[in-house]
Symmetry: none
Subunit: 307 residues, 2 copies
């Protein structure tokens, strides 16, 4: 049993690819570790045309409902490796399952970038979080740090202070990069304080986060600060490990595609959405890239059939 197409990823790019492939009656499996991803965690989406304001989770549910209108198989399993075979490709899952396919679309998106400091991994789910929307409510009347002074860091802080008594934004640079408008909102809240020139060095505690060690590199001094939560908002990395032998990467680690077709270096391997080197990581753009990849995969399969 061999699929015509396996789509890896259950976000806007993967789901739209699924809709387009199913409409072309391509025998398709959509494989995803879950249907949450970055979109599902977004508090408000106000720039996906057609929906003035919708939660990321609700938008994703509408995408999934839309997909389910069509004949398409979906499985919630994590793909960990893609191998080239004589007939096409073999996808290995975390639980050692394997699926054969003639073509593949990688749309597994991005994962939050980690700090890589002592204590970070140990305290994931015990005070360390990458998802303010998921975890804010656990920090009622507590003090938290947000690492990263960009828009997403400030957005996280604003979300957190709906529960937390205080949020400290840690920024490595001598100034923050967030838009003026969101900086003003943060200031007006009276509950957000920005630390500039600081680098978080270690997260400490017994069973849960109790303090952090950070260095102020302007002052060249280290401090320890008692704290109950650490939210990491320093960007994201493409979840592209599973195709590393089959694709080329940009300097920033994105999967390189032909922008007209979403084709990677390997014929039959397409990539779509935030995992690729498209310039803007936006839901509407990821969805379109999924459509494009599915239409290109369909053309590829039709062409292969004739040879």
């Amino acid at each position: 049993m061999i699929y015509d197409l396996i789509i890896v990823g259950g976000g806007p790019a993967g789901i739209t690819a699924g809709i387009y492939a199913a409409r072309k009656k391509v025998k398709t499996l959509l494989l995803t570790s879950d249907f949450v991803g970055q979109t599902g965690k977004a508090l408000h989406v106000e720039n996906y045309p057609g929906f003035k304001s919708i939660s990321g989770n609700e938008l994703l549910q509408r995408f999934i409902e839309h997909l389910r209108q069509f004949e398409i198989e979906t499985r919630e399993q994590e793909a960990v490796e893609v191998k080239k075979t004589d007939q096409g490709f073999k996808i290995i899952t975390k639980d050692n399952g394997s699926f054969a396919t003639k073509a593949i679309i990688i749309a597994s998106g991005r994962s939050p970038r980690m700090l890589n400091v002592v204590g970070e991994e140990e305290f994931i789910g015990k005070g360390v979080s990458y998802c303010p929307l998921c975890d804010a409510a656990f920090f009622k009347d507590k003090r938290v740090i947000v690492v990263g002074g960009g828009n997403s860091g400030f957005g996280a802080a604003m979300e957190l202070i709906r529960y937390a008594s205080k949020a400290f934004i840690f920024e490595f640079a001598p100034q923050v990069r967030a838009d003026e408008i969101i900086q003003e909102q943060a200031k007006a809240s009276g509950k957000i304080e920005v630390f500039l020139n600081v680098q978080l060095k270690e997260i400490k505690g017994k069973g849960k986060v109790e303090s952090v060690v950070y260095r102020n590199h302007a002052e060249k001094k280290e401090y320890e600060m008692p704290i109950e939560g650490v939210f990491v908002e320093i960007g994201s990395v493409p979840a592209s490990n599973l195709v590393k032998e089959l694709v080329d990467f940009s300097e920033t680690g994105d999967v390189k595609i032909d922008p007209w077709t979403c084709q990677t270096r390997t014929p039959g391997v397409f990539a779509a959405g935030d995992i690729t080197n498209i310039r803007h990581k936006q839901i509407i753009i990821a969805a379109a890239e999924g459509a494009k990849a599915a239409l290109s995969a369909h053309e590829y399969l039709e062409h292969e059939k004739q040879n």
Copy 2:
């Protein structure tokens, strides 16, 4: 008074460009002859993720409502010419108005070339269609005509017989122009029949298409044929006349863009959606291209400001 950005076009690309530009607080005017276009005429849209099934017109109304959430000026006037000026560009409208701007996004889409026969306009959305991909599913087990024996006509017929019981291709010339390979596929399907030397003269029916009158000019005879759908595939025309001095065109008359940024040959002139040489003319893709063009125009304006 000079705008930062003028967007020409009120379809998915233009409106999404408007949403993105307004969110970036770019001083923008959206100029469009009307808010209908190809999308507004689509019978049913079932491939814009988030809406399982929606009329083209309803989807467009939701786009417009979304746009109106933001501070953005819109005018229903037809742009006829764009001129380069010292400060940027000047857009001349049909009624001799003129607007100055620093940057411009052309998203005026395409119009299908029409047959201009009796009954054609009357039955649009009632059996007459210019979009097989949009409307094929509504002709399940029905008989349809495709007018035009080029690649797009054959492509339309192949798309249609996934649902339709039979498709007749009407070609005016004594032979068809489609590639061999697609002709062979059509033949192999057993569901496509080609009529040569024929010209469609009239579309008839009561409330919906019921028959067509056509002339075989080799035989010099007219016939009436019962039929339930007429798809017109005699080309489309990009509405790009107004920028003809500022952009390059592909062989098919599409406006050439850099696919990463939607930039045309002229700095400050961007193009988005079906008017461009993107490969797939789809609503979701046009919308994304609009977002991309607006983000690129914003970058362009920021960069100009610094110089």
